[in-house]
């Protein structure tokens, strides 16, 4: 365990990974409670379009992914609030459309290589110093917003209409939440991968919900599960040369199954 931390790249991966676990699980609590789970998947695929543009155009893929992901989040939230009945259909269309667009951009640009593969499934080897700084700085800002508005977001998740009638700025906060989620997803794809970050966001909360405790405790349990999964998953990734995103997600799924079994009525 400690031997692998003697390598710079593993230190970077662990700092980034633990930060991402914190961000994904806390934002994931609101995402799951608001029934936005499919949205996180869609945003992860939209972020891939940004990665593709970044790779082809020669910009930092992480930055372009953040911008594209935020724009997609706003579009999704606008469509969701305007056409609520078909919101899941809108998400499905955007999810597959984004992936198709990303693949076409990368193919046309001749950049369909390992670089894209690492963004799809995550790679601890590819986390640079710049990535760590970006994740820590923007992740901290996103986390601060989430915690600052956590009581309002919790109320909205429980009953959006009553929250609105009590004077809470529901529309603004919904946009803020999806913006923060979009940023967190884009930041996470280096380590977890765009195809798998949705799982790290959703599964720890779903596992924590099995324990039927209050909001605060649910969030803490989800955070613990996410941190554990990242540490365990990245260790497996290092020792068995496996993609980090896949090992992290399988670890959290194992926790979910155990939680489900021990909390069966």
């Amino acid at each position: 365990m400690f031997e692998m931390l003697s390598y710079d790249f593993m230190q970077r991966a662990f700092i980034a990974g633990l930060f991402i676990a914190t961000l994904a699980s806390i934002s994931g609590t609101f995402v799951v409670l608001k029934r936005y789970s499919l949205m996180s998947e869609t945003l992860a695929h939209s972020a891939l379009v940004g990665v593709a543009v970044g790779l082809v155009a020669g910009y930092n893929p992480l930055w372009v992914a953040v911008v594209v992901s935020i724009l997609s989040a706003w579009l999704i939230e606008y469509l969701r609030s305007s056409f609520s009945i078909y919101s899941d259909a809108v998400l499905s269309i955007m999810l597959s459309g984004s992936l198709a667009l990303a693949v076409i951009i990368v193919s046309l640009g001749g950049a369909f290589n390992n670089s894209l593969f690492s963004y799809l499934f995550g790679s601890i080897l590819s986390v640079s110093d710049t990535d760590v700084y970006t994740i820590v700085v923007f992740g901290s800002i996103s986390l601060a917003f989430l915690l600052l508005f956590s009581k309002e977001l919790y109320f909205i998740a429980y009953d959006e209409e009553v929250a609105k009638t009590s004077g809470i700025k529901v529309k603004f906060l919904n946009f803020l939440l999806v913006t923060v989620v979009a940023i967190i997803i884009a930041l996470s794809i280096r380590v977890v991968g765009s195809l798998l970050i949705g799982a790290l966001m959703v599964i720890p909360t779903v596992a924590a919900l099995q324990y039927r405790v209050g909001f605060r405790n649910t969030m803490f349990i989800a955070l613990f599960f996410a941190l554990f999964s990242v540490i365990f998953g990245m260790s497996l990734s290092y020792y068995f040369s496996l993609p980090s995103g896949a090992t992290i997600v399988l670890s959290v799924i194992a926790i979910f199954i155990i939680s489900l079994v021990i909390n069966r009525k």
């Binding site: 409670l33 600052l148 508005f149 009581k151 309002e152 919790y154 109320f155 429980y158 009953d159 209409e161 009553v162 929250a163 609105k164 009638t165 009590s166 004077g167 809470i168 924590a208 919900l209 039927r212 405790v213 209050g214 909001f215 405790n217 649910t218």
Partner: protein, 256 residues
């Protein structure tokens, strides 16, 4: 009813609401004053819930004007003065991670502001609201494990925690047993009488509370206001017009 103040809580003038070609509410006008106890009845699809949603700014009227505490809807900011318990309030998502206290605390969120934590006043109001609704012993229970009647009291406690001037309830007895309903109406009457909280609520079982209410609004696209509900409720006309079993209402309360 107490003396009428200058400014009504709600002032509704010639309100109409249309969805595509269908007129849901037509030319509705009324005022609601502090301390009143008003029930709304009417057939399904008659516009009861729509009227409440318009009052709460959840829908935009086609024409007409609504004022709250003397201000136009768009200028009104003090929404915490209005406690709202929606129709489906007792139908909670059983897996939602919320204790009774978590839910009642929500009633203070809009009052607290973004940067503020729970003040001693907030804690006191939450405690008082739970005490009034007799749910203090349930405060650490998950709301999904409660009965319909208990959930109903939790939702009203949440509304009360913001110290509202008016409570608006949309068919609050959905999924609640008869004993809890009786207790619920006694609580409403007590809140109106002792706390001077104005009550406006939609119901199908008006007979149970006929003795307590001050005014009755009957809604079927248009509003008819009855200032002596017991008189009107004894009429077969109400049964015919609004599909409510209005006969023998005078004795109905004592049968339970």
């Amino acid at each position: 009813m107490s003396l009428k103040p200058e400014v009504p809580i709600f002032e509704v003038k010639e309100l109409s609401f249309r969805v595509r070609e269908q007129l849901i509410l037509e030319n509705v006008s009324f005022e609601i004053f502090s301390g009143e106890y008003i029930a709304i009845i009417g057939p399904n699809g008659g516009g009861k819930t729509t009227l409440i949603r318009l009052l709460l700014n959840l829908e935009k009227q086609t024409s007409g004007e609504i004022k709250i505490f003397g201000k136009k809807l768009k200028d009104f900011k003090e929404w915490y003065k209005i406690g709202y318990v929606p129709q489906r309030a007792t139908l909670v998502d059983e897996s939602f991670p919320a204790t009774v206290e978590d839910i009642v605390k929500m009633g203070r969120v809009a009052r607290r502001g973004v940067f503020a934590g729970m003040s001693s006043e907030d804690r006191e109001k939450v405690h008082d609201a739970m005490q009034k609704m007799d749910i203090l012993d349930l405060k650490d229970k998950m709301v999904g494990t409660l009965s319909g009647g208990q959930r109903q009291r939790v939702m009203i406690a949440r509304a009360l925690a913001s110290s509202p001037k008016i409570l608006i309830l949309d068919e609050p007895n959905t999924g609640v047993d008869m004993v809890s309903q009786q207790r619920f109406y006694e609580l409403l009457a007590k809140l109106n009488r002792e706390e001077n909280i104005t009550i406006l609520f939609i119901t199908h079982d008006i007979g149970v509370i006929a003795d307590d209410i001050g005014r009755l609004f009957t809604i079927n696209r248009k509003v008819t206001i009855c200032n002596d509900p017991k008189k009107l409720l004894s009429c077969d006309e109400v049964s015919d017009l609004y599909g409510i079993h209005a006969h023998s209402l005078a004795n109905h309360k004592h049968e339970h």
